[in-house]
Symmetry: C2
Subunit: 406 residues, 2 copies
């Protein structure tokens, strides 16, 4: 076989190998989604248990913990092998961090059962574990090299992020309703969680498939009962003692409905992987007709700086017929990779925006001792006051941070 054709073949085979790796990542992420949902339920039950001073949900704790253990085994079974692979360093490191975080669960459960831990600390401990799991989904979205799958992953990650924020809203609200009063900090936190959810679901809506989006639009509105309780929480209006259970039940129903949409997103992700693999295999099998007339011009973004008249070489009769046929195959592959690269660049911009905002937030937290919610609120208010995007404010902050460091 012609050596050029060998590498063309290797290029397509590498594309298929990348997609098959993505398919396995999709399976891992589906398992992670199940584990997160189970952890959110265990966090919810633990929360009510602690808030009710051990009066409510005592029976639930065991069942929730058992469900988490099940899901945890499934995640560990789905993990990629712990082997050296070029380009796998970050993913492996995030898996290590997630596994390490999960190690803390038995002791955490013991302390919850003994009511030896403040409610806020217990919630934070659960949320920390969930965050390390969500990091895996973000990393997958950030490194996927196929636009459709990258889009599905961004939609899924944003949705999981929104759902987790809804879970934290449930915890924060439960604590306030159980205590009979909301502190100023709790109110601010609640408001921040509601705002951040909106942002997450806006990103989701931008990238989701039509089916999932339609299902979300039907339930995007939190409903009047939840909104009434939110208003009570945020304004300090009076409410009945059973408020905590009403709140918990309503928000739990909402989280379960979200989980159904999340399942649809996982299914869409897997279907997208399967479709992309089939398409790449078809492209490999199909031999396009030689393209004798068109002058060949391999355009690879960023590498085309010498592109010009010289591309007429191949229609000048220098290249033999076989050469032209190979050229048209190479061109087809180049165009496919280029189209992917262009689309990915657009999507990466969305993720980069998130990274910049997060880095600015992190800097504010470190430098000014702010909480995550406070830092986010400060960014948001600055943006509103100055009539700019949060991204602009975040970039300005990072520029200042860089100057201070230099």
């Amino acid at each position: 076989m012609n050596r050029a054709l060998e590498y063309l073949h290797a290029s397509r085979a590498s594309e298929i190998a990348s997609l098959q790796r993505l398919l396995r990542t999709g399976q891992q992420i589906t398992a992670v989604s199940e584990l997160i949902h189970a952890l959110q339920r265990e966090r919810g039950a633990s929360n009510i248990w602690l808030c009710s001073d051990g009066r409510l949900f005592g029976d639930e704790l065991e069942a929730r913990a058992a469900a988490v253990a099940d899901r945890q085994r499934a995640v560990i079974a789905a993990l990629p092998p712990a082997e050296a692979q070029p380009g796998y360093s970050r993913f492996c490191m995030l898996i290590a961090a997630a596994l390490q975080a999960l190690e803390a669960l038995p002791l955490l459960r013991q302390q919850v059962r003994d009511r030896a831990l403040e409610q806020v600390r217990a919630m934070d401990a659960f949320s920390h574990i969930i965050r390390t799991l969500l990091n895996l989904v973000f990393e997958a979205a950030d490194t996927a090299s196929e636009p459709d799958i990258s889009r599905a992953l961004i939609a899924l990650f944003s949705f999981m992020q929104g759902k987790e924020l809804a879970g934290q809203e449930r915890a924060t609200g439960s604590a306030g309703f159980a205590a009979g009063t909301f502190s100023a900090a709790q109110r601010q936190r609640l408001q921040g969680l509601i705002d951040a959810q909106e942002q997450s679901f806006a990103t989701f809506s931008q990238f989701a498939d039509a089916d999932s989006l339609a299902r979300w639009q039907q339930m995007a509105d939190a409903g009047s009962q939840i909104e009434r309780l939110r208003r009570i929480a945020c304004t300090g209006a009076p409410y009945a003692e059973e408020g905590v259970l009403q709140w918990f039940t309503l928000l739990s129903e909402r989280l379960d409905k979200m989980k159904q949409i999340e399942d649809g997103l996982c299914a869409a992700l897997m279907a997208g992987c399967a479709r992309a693999i089939a398409a790449a295999q078809q492209a490999e099998a199909r031999a396009p007709a030689p393209d004798a007339d068109a002058s060949f011009s391999l355009y690879v973004a960023g590498a085309s700086w010498l592109e010009g008249h010289d591309a007429t070489l191949d229609s000048s009769g220098i290249a033999p017929q076989l050469g032209r046929s190979v050229l048209s195959l190479i061109r087809e592959q180049a165009q496919r990779l280029q189209a992917q690269s262009n689309e990915l660049a657009t999507m990466r911009a969305t993720l980069n925006e998130r990274k910049v905002i997060d880095q600015a937030k992190h800097w504010l937290m470190q430098q000014h001792g702010l909480s995550e919610q406070d830092a986010w609120q400060r960014l948001r208010k600055s943006a509103m006051n100055q009539n700019k995007r949060m991204l602009d404010i975040a970039q300005a902050i990072l520029a200042v941070a860089a100057t201070l460091q230099a």
Copy 2:
């Protein structure tokens, strides 16, 4: 072994595997640099042969072709195996394009020897082959995941690009001096090549190691003899008949000196790879002391959206001593990967700038039938007239292009 530690180990082993792949890429690129230099010399000899109507350099052609064949064998021996590897699709496709372009050499040489090809067409054919080889270097620079090595690759690519533009300047000038006159198009092309060289060497200077930069600064000035001939070419001042050989000799000496700097850049690249591998192996071998006091906060850019107070979990006594030690190992690895990611983002911005400008140039070429040089000049003039960066103009053009397509 603890499963978290297994993945931490896999993360570091993956980092080392990525670096070893980069080391092999460095070897491939060193071979490509040699082949490009040999091709530039064959192009130069062919050019003089054609420009002198077969009177000069007839003996050289054979020797130059033999040198290219030597270097070509070395490149092919250094190529990675034509195997499926996730993330290797673009690189394999570019290898296929380069090998395919090299296939045209025997026929091209025959046509040059028979003087059956116009000088411009022959030069363009050689330049096309060289461009496909340079694409490999660009791709390596665009995908390297270690900041120091990425920097060395960007410096090397920019230098090779500048040297190739100098080679094209030599060809364009030789044709004009041999013909006894420069057409308006030739003059414009010459000016464009001189300007583009400056841009390439400016990027090189931004990323080069201190030694290479110092060596370049000594020879950056083209010297008064070359500048005098450039002026003659661009203004149509009278000159002696032996101008063509004087021009060719001066520019060839300059290209040979550039090759020495390029060799230094290749050596710096390989040394950087070896250093990075040693550092990663050292980090793997060294076990940092447990960090019992500090509260753990794993910060992964873009995945830290839930970061907050909850990170105090591990200093609260929940995590056992072993856990803390693992956490500090994970944190160290997270910080290293994060520092790399931040630095890479900055460098990628430079490459993206080039991509945007190239895409805008390509669009101008396609839509307005401009040559590569004309498109570049038009971008440049617009930028100067509007007192903006070329990047801004290019982005504006692409925005218009997107609107027209929609």
